[in-house]
Symmetry: C2
Subunit: 240 residues, 2 copies
Amino acid sequence: MLTLEDARKALAKGSVIIFAGPCTVVYEGRATSRLGVGERLVLIKKDRSILVHRPTGHEPVNWQPAGSMIDFLTENGLPVIRASNANELLKISFTAQPSLMVFDLRDTAEFEMYASEEDMKKAVLAKPSLVEPGFKPLEEERQVKRTGRVDILGLDALGRLVVVELKRKPATPEDVRQLSAYVESLNSEFGRKPRAILAAPSTTKAARREMEKTSVEFRCLTPRRCMQVLREAKGLDSYL
Amino acid sequence: MLTLEDARKALAKGSVIIFAGPCTVVYEGRATSRLGVGERLVLIKKDRSILVHRPTGHEPVNWQPAGSMIDFLTENGLPVIRASNANELLKISFTAQPSLMVFDLRDTAEFEMYASEEDMKKAVLAKPSLVEPGFKPLEEERQVKRTGRVDILGLDALGRLVVVELKRKPATPEDVRQLSAYVESLNSEFGRKPRAILAAPSTTKAARREMEKTSVEFRCLTPRRCMQVLREAKGLDSYL
DNA sequence: GCCTAGGTCCCGTTG
DNA sequence: CAACGGGGCCTAGGC
């Protein structure tokens, strides 16, 4: 039978802890929440992130991000977990003795994710015609100066400035507004409107309406196609 | 020693399952990911949501939302979990015998959250002067017709139409664009520009610039203040 | 430290 | 069903 003292030691040692049992949960911070008695799992990781999971749902019902201060207390003979940081407090009060499990997890593997918006950008830089024939991205340095608002700056076949926004999901009116706001700021800076191209697998209807109003152009581009292009480019690289 | 057959039965019965052990994870779907060998916790909930947790970090490294199809297989004498839905596949392959835990969690409690944007709206409807002296929200019916884009429609002390956008966090340029897009659509519909008020605890600098350009007004309003007003309104209700 | 943008975001609500 | 916006979003990157 593991005790709170075991939990303290395990956490100090860098283990992962799970409590399983009936509890109530109170949270005060950016918002406030209350959760009555029910049986839940409480995960405490070695970085002192903490998750309260109900028996359903992808998302934890309550949590505290990594780096919080974790205290194990006893109130009325039952365990209480306090997880706090500068502005927030999470308090988990068990209403019966929970079971306690300790895990020593070694995990140093790298996590690799593909088909992100960043990958789409790499693909377009490797093969600019994905945007349109004759499209030429500006050199990296001039890209960087404009970073943060637009994904790719370039010139079209006629030498006109083009701002390209990439989306891995169907484009929304929000995406269109973001792009046309950027066009406007370039316009007032240089006195000339650049072309704007929104490259995404599709658009919502409202986005399409917004595009017509603001003369943002749509170019169909899927993450899948971009990954193909990246594979081909890589294959070519290793061949050469 | 629990077996995969036990896991199948537990899941069918509505229990929550945790596997703990070394595994690799492959995901194919909206994106693609690869995770090499490492020791992790795999939670499978009764709604067949599934979470793969590494020893650090609030977020699961891989997952599948509720309702996926879960298969427990054996490959080379070791357990494999396949969690799939129409378009996505998550495959967890253990590289050594994992431990298996089963939990029967009863949890029917209601989760209550306060200080949401919705609560801010309630507070303003209870005490419209939170927006400005003389502000009068339109009746609920005329609100509803306009729902989905703007939080509150009302009239100011001079009878002018006012659209109010509430935010519980510092207002961003995106928030300003959203509001002014709405103002524009009302303008082209009625031929007259309504006033626009963004009520939030603060604004980012870029948002402030965007507000000046588009004549969106700022009103400082915190979730905390709104909760006070709601408590007072409630207290008054129970007194009357 | 603030601020911005992405995410397999998830999730609820509405048309 | 798509679509739209909130969230204690979290997290990574820039400045």
